[in-house]
């Protein structure tokens, strides 16, 4: 196993099922991921896309593993730079009345510009997802 580059964990007072839905359903992602949506059928081998509110594709990739509501592995690339491909893993584990979500982003190509693009974003997205799942309202994650 290659050493992952970025690892983030958060404990959310929610269920694995709801955390899975928050990652995979556009009507939920839009509410905490800065109006962005994740679109796909989340079956192994299928294509998935990350859209902005105008429906433009910002990130694209394939579903490499899918075990709802426990584990989702995606390939991840900018559609304008498909060679700069990396891999994102969502691991969802129930813990007492909470759910532990771990996001691992790794397998970056040498010289990848993606690390810089996402390393500021993941903590915001996860923090906003947590707030959304616990309160029904996400954070304004693109504010400076």
């Amino acid at each position: 196993m290659q050493k992952p580059k970025l690892v983030y964990t958060t404990y959310i007072r929610s269920t694995p099922k709801d955390v899975w839905a928050a990652i995979t359903k556009p009507e939920f992602t839009r509410q905490y991921w800065g109006e962005m949506t994740n679109v796909g059928d989340w079956k192994k081998g299928s294509k998935w896309e990350h859209h902005n509110p105008q429906g433009e594709v910002w990130i694209t990739g394939k579903v490499l593993e899918s075990t709802p509501p426990k584990r989702l592995v995606l390939s991840w690339a900018d559609p304008d730079d498909l060679k700069d491909k990396s891999r994102v893993t969502f691991e969802i584990v129930a813990m007492e009345d909470m759910t532990c979500l771990t996001v691992t982003h790794g397998s970056f190509k040498d010289g990848s510009t993606m690390v810089k693009k996402v390393s500021g974003g993941w903590p915001r997205v996860l923090s906003s997802m947590k707030t959304f799942l616990e309160t029904g309202k996400g954070l304004n994650i693109f504010c400076k």
Partner: protein
Amino acid sequence: MQPNGCIMCRVMDAAFKALADESRRKLLDQLHKSSGQTLGELCAHLDMTRQAVTKHLLLLEDANLVAVVWRGREKLHYLNPVPIFEISERWIDKYERHRLQALGDLKKGLEKNKNNKPNKKG
């Protein structure tokens, strides 16, 4: 107030307790420089005994400020900034952030010019 013993409060308490120690902040600085280090790598960069580093790392893990990934028998430590982001979200209003950023930049800029290095006293 949340009832005593609620896990969310324990997580927040643990984060503050973990951050209230210079050695642990140094450990986090080290992981900020290069995330995914083993205990051995961390020890090589820090003026602390292996036992002390182990103890501090466990506390940081409990506070969810350090995430762990096992690669075979190797335990890799990652800086997990999510709880710190939550702390700032809780108390720093999104409209204040702009001004605080400006003040922070000003402080950094002035101190850099004066000492040519960041102020260690913070």
